[in-house]
């Protein structure tokens, strides 16, 4: 039994495990797949969106800057074109024009100057004292001489402040003059500084050498190498804009760069942002996805456990019900076959037993005759013959019970009031109860409906139960409480004694035919089996509850529905009852 239970437990545990794993796999896998796919798609499209946005932004700024530079150049070109050589050498003229341009363009121009082909500044207008300054060695001057117009990189120059200049070369009868204007680096900076996105997104301009052309308020990595690498990458591609994602070497953070060439490829505008910052909403989405995933997993797992436990409990219940049903089928089958057997045996045995008893009787008769009276062992003979007769009667008893177990009793079905039968059987047993010092207490529900059943069979059941109770309490005395009531389409009769009770080991077997605890010759072990068969045949149920030294309760429940009259073989009825 114990081993069986253990086996069963492990079996149910296995089922539970299977169900749990199946549920978890089946529900989590699609969740993960869908989650990953959506996340990936979102990632990609968001990436594209952000990239496009940054691209556009940088493009716009690039255009702005290009326009700015072109316009400034245009200003200077215009000035150079309009002015005569005298005008250019005249500081007042320059002063006037500088003021005008400053008024028109918000102090973008810092100063103006005219330089001859020897690199000497002939005239100057501006805040610095740069008249007659010598520029012949400056790189920008060489470039300015070589080109019709030129925009320099940012440099410190003579004034020691970062600035860049716009130059226009003008030819006056073979004499070349260069008109030069300094652009306020702050004004230029503002063009780039406006490009600020998120916490870490900012822009700056580099020249071909990787030198900063604008000031950055951020601590930009001073390592020029990384920028030159960047430059190389840009050079390799022909497109104007380029997006690069790379890891910052010192901080280990991933950075995103948007690079675009300016000033005909001389300068490079770089927009730089932390990857995490640029794609912060991806991070948020991913976090949300993680949270949902974790919660989902938790829900699924707990659901799996709860569900599987419920299912397995149900399976276990069904299994045990099935087992019970099987047991009942076996039980009724057993009863049926026993009944058949009993009928046969009883018939066959009865006659030989009768003959044996008669023969012994005859011998008894013969012993009475004169000549045998002197026999030494006369008493022994007599005792022996008596014994044969007693045992013969015992056989008769057994066959009688066997037959009543199997024979067609009076199974006519009437509408009967169960309380009347109870009262009747109680009064039948009253005499015996008096000797056994047992008191019957009946508590009957007077509103019981009529039941369709065989009166004599019901009597038999009750009498058997009463007799058992009386047998159990013969020495001690006690009470037998009989209760009847109805509920849920059932009438239930409770027969409760306060006798010694039935040991647990016996409890499962008491309805088995031939199971008895009474001394040999006292019981046949058929009483309760008969009761069981009858009640099952009626479509009812009989149950027993018992506790040692507390007493035993038999509970009979009978269905109230209209019972169709059926008079088939009792064996079949038994089977019916069981099924």
């Amino acid at each position: 039994m114990e081993k069986d239970k253990l086996l069963q437990n492990s079996y149910y545990k296995m089922i539970t495990k299977k169900i749990v794993t199946t549920i978890i796999i089946v529900s989590i896998t699609p969740m993960i797949l869908v989650g990953l796919i959506i996340l990936d798609r979102f990632n990609k499209s968001y990436h594209e969106k952000v990239s496009a946005h940054l691209d556009e932004l940088v493009q716009k700024h690039k255009q702005n800057i290009d326009t700015f530079l072109k316009e400034r150049l245009g200003n200077i070109q215009f000035l150079a074109k309009m002015a005569s050589i005298e005008n250019l050498k005249n500081e007042l003229f320059l002063q006037e024009n500088l003021l005008e341009m400053q008024k028109a363009y918000d102090n973008v121009f810092v100063d103006l100057g005219t330089i001859n082909d020897k690199g000497v500044q002939l005239a100057y207008a501006g805040p610095f004292q740069l008249k007659d300054a010598q520029y012949s060695d400056a790189q920008w001057f060489k470039n300015a001489l070589a080109n019709r117009y030129y925009i320099s990189d940012v440099f410190l120059g003579l004034r020691g402040l970062p600035h860049f200049i716009v130059t226009v070369k003008k030819n006056f009868d073979g004499k070349e003059l260069i008109l030069r204007a300094t652009i306020d680096i702050m004004a230029f900076n503002s063009l780039v500084e406006n490009l600020r996105i998120g916490k870490t997104g900012f822009a700056y301009i580099l020249n071909r050498e990787g030198e900063f052309q604008t000031k950055t308020s951020f601590d930009v990595n001073a390592d020029k190498k990384s920028y030159t690498e960047l430059l190389k990458k840009v050079k390799e591609t022909k497109r104007g804009e380029h997006i690069i994602e790379k890891k910052d070497k010192s901080s280990g953070e991933k950075l995103i760069y948007v690079v675009s060439s300016l000033k005909g490829g001389d300068w490079l505008m770089v927009y730089q942002q932390d990857y995490g910052d640029a794609f912060s909403s991806i991070k948020i989405v991913r976090n949300i996805a993680y949270i949902i995933f974790v919660i989902g997993c938790f829900c699924i797992i707990s659901m799996a456990f709860i569900l599987s436990r419920r299912i397995v409990n149900r399976i276990a219940r069904i299994d045990s019900e099935k087992e019970m049903l099987n047991q009942q089928v076996i039980e009724t089958g057993k009863l049926a076959s026993v009944g058949e057997l009993a009928a046969g045996i009883a018939h066959e045995i009865n006659n030989p037993v009768a003959i044996m008893v008669e023969e012994s009787g005859w011998m008894e008769d013969l012993l009475e005759e004169e000549d045998l009276q002197k026999t030494e062992n006369l008493e022994e003979y007599k005792r022996s013959l008596k014994q044969i007769q007693t045992q013969g009667k015992r056989c008769k008893e057994i066959t009688y019970k066997l037959l009543s177990f199997a024979r067609k009793t009076d199974s006519r079905i009437d509408d009967v009031q169960i309380n009347e039968i109870i009262d009747e059987v109680v009064s039948l047993s009253a005499q015996r109860a008096k000797y056994a010092n047992v008191i019957f207490n009946t508590r009957l529900d007077n509103n019981l409906p009529l039941l369709s059943l065989s009166q004599s069979e019901m009597q038999q059941v009750l009498l058997n139960l009463f007799n058992n109770a009386l047998d159990a309490m013969e020495k001690t005395g006690g009470n037998i409480d009989i209760t009847s009531n109805s509920h849920n389409n059932n009438v239930s009769i409770e027969i409760k004694d306060n006798g010694p009770g039935i040991p647990k080991a016996n409890l499962v077997r008491i309805f088995d035919p031939f199971f008895t605890t009474k001394p040999v010759g006292k019981g046949t072990g058929l009483g309760l089996a008969i009761c069981y068969g009858i009640i099952k045949k009626m479509g009812g149920n009989i149950k027993v509850q018992s506790a040692i030294n507390v007493g035993t309760t038999f509970i009979i429940s009978l269905p109230i529905f209209e019972q169709k009259e059926k008079k088939t073989d009792p064996e079949f009825d038994n089977l019916d009852g069981g099924l």
Binding site: A343, A346, H347, N350, N351, V353, A354, I355, M356, V357, E358, E359, G361, W362, D365, G392, K393, K396, T399, Y400, L403, S404, R407, D410
Partner: protein, 143 residues
């Protein structure tokens, strides 16, 4: 007192033999038969038979049939049914057809004796009544 004449009918030969011996020892005049037909023949040949002890379960013509036949032909002859448990109901049914009583096998010899005696007495009484009635009739006729 005059011996009661009875007919013992049972298909179990040893039973019949022993029973016969025991009943004879108890001052009965016993005839035997081993089937219903035999019993009817015996009754035919011996009209002194007062009581028939008849087993219910016999092959061929069974106890109930035999009983009905006996009662039809010899209504005054009393019949005590002998039965196993399986046939108690038919024995009871037999009483409806006029059997005096029934006994369950294996039965106590004393019980059987007393039943047979009672049956014989009843028959005697009936016969006496009939005789009396006849006498009355005859006397009244004379008168």
């Amino acid at each position: 007192m005059k011996k009661i004449k009875l007919l013992l009918v049972d298909d179990e030969v040893p039973f019949v033999e022993t029973m016969t011996k025991r009943l004879k020892k108890r001052e009965f005049d016993v005839d035997t038969a081993h089937s219903g037909l035999d019993a009817l023949k015996a009754l035919e040949s011996n009209d002194k038979i007062e009581v028939v002890v008849l087993d219910v379960k016999m092959p061929g013509m069974d106890g109930i049939e035999t009983l009905r036949e006996i009662k039809k032909v010899y209504p005054l002859t009393e019949v005590v049914m002998l039965t196993g448990h399986a046939t108690v109901e038919s024995a009871i049914e037999g009483m409806r057809f006029g059997a005096f009583d029934y006994l369950m096998k294996p039965c106590d010899i004393d019980q059987l004796v007393s039943k047979v005696t009672q049956a014989a007495e009843k028959k005697q009484k009936h016969e006496n009544k009939i005789v009396e009635a006849r006498i009355k009739e005859i006397t009244s006729r004379r008168a």
